[in-house]
């Protein structure tokens, strides 16, 4: 799947997008995996209350299943308008 990062999530992780293969069943499982990869991921995902997730470009919950999902995006709460 593709992982996308926006705003300060992108800055902390240091890239906007990466290809990532996983067996994680849910977003929460995926986050656990990512936290274990490197310090910059652990930092970016340290406070989930400050994060939002979109699955295939639809806002979702952290306990949503990943089966069939091709694009996961992590970002802070939106501030448009």
């Amino acid at each position: 799947m593709d992982l996308l990062y926006f705003a300060w999530v992108r800055e902390r992780i240091g890239l906007p997008k990466e290809r990532y293969e996983t067996e994680a069943a849910t977003v929460n499982d995926l986050i656990e995996e990512l936290r274990g990869r490197e310090e910059r991921y652990a930092l970016a995902f340290s406070d989930l209350s400050a994060l939002r997730v979109a699955l295939d470009q639809e806002l979702s919950e952290f306990d949503a299943p990943l089966a069939g999902v091709r694009e996961v995006a992590f970002f802070p709460p939106m501030t448009g308008g």
Binding site: L4, F6, A7, W8, R10, A54, Q57, E58, L59, E71, A73, F75, P76, P77, M78, T79, G80, G81
Partner: protein
């Protein structure tokens, strides 16, 4: 009922958009516009940079506009939102609603703004004399959704 959603980097012509919106229609008695402008709160803002999620932005805005259409009697809805770099006083975005009834036009415009603030994938970063920082979402913006 016509929905128009525009996401673009370049400035938009607010006067021309306002003039053209629902122009000539004889069945809409009420038109409301809202415009968001880059505000220099501290007096030290140099630029505001707006990042967005290209694959999702247009869809998210269309979804919000479609939900507004389902809730109120609207003849036309327009949403324009910029991304990229802009300076103090520049217009960031606008929404416009046209309805038979002024209450519907006002409510729909407020609904569009409340959802756009918290559900459309835009993020603002301010740069100025004190460095650069991401604008934090306000609890009140999330709370505003509960009234609908």
């Amino acid at each position: 009922m016509a929905i128009r959603v525009v996401v673009q980097e370049e400035p938009f012509d607010f006067g021309a958009e306002a003039e053209g919106f629902a122009a000539g229609r004889t069945d809409m008695g009420a038109v409301v516009t809202f415009t968001g402008v880059v505000r220099d709160v501290s007096g030290t803002l140099a630029t505001m940079e707006i990042e967005h999620y290209p694959g999702m932005t247009q869809k998210a805005l269309e979804k919000i506009a479609t939900e507004a259409e389902a809730r109120w009697e609207l003849g036309e809805v327009l949403v324009i939102h910029r991304y990229g770099r802009m300076g103090p006083g520049e217009r960031i975005m606008m929404v416009a609603t046209a309805s038979k009834h002024r209450g519907h036009a006002f409510e729909a415009a407020e609904y569009l703004m409340d959802y756009l603030k918290s559900r459309a994938p835009f993020w603002k970063k301010e740069s100025g004399a004190e460095g650069a920082s991401w604008v934090a979402a306000k609890d009140e913006d999330e709370d505003a959704l509960s009234r609908w």
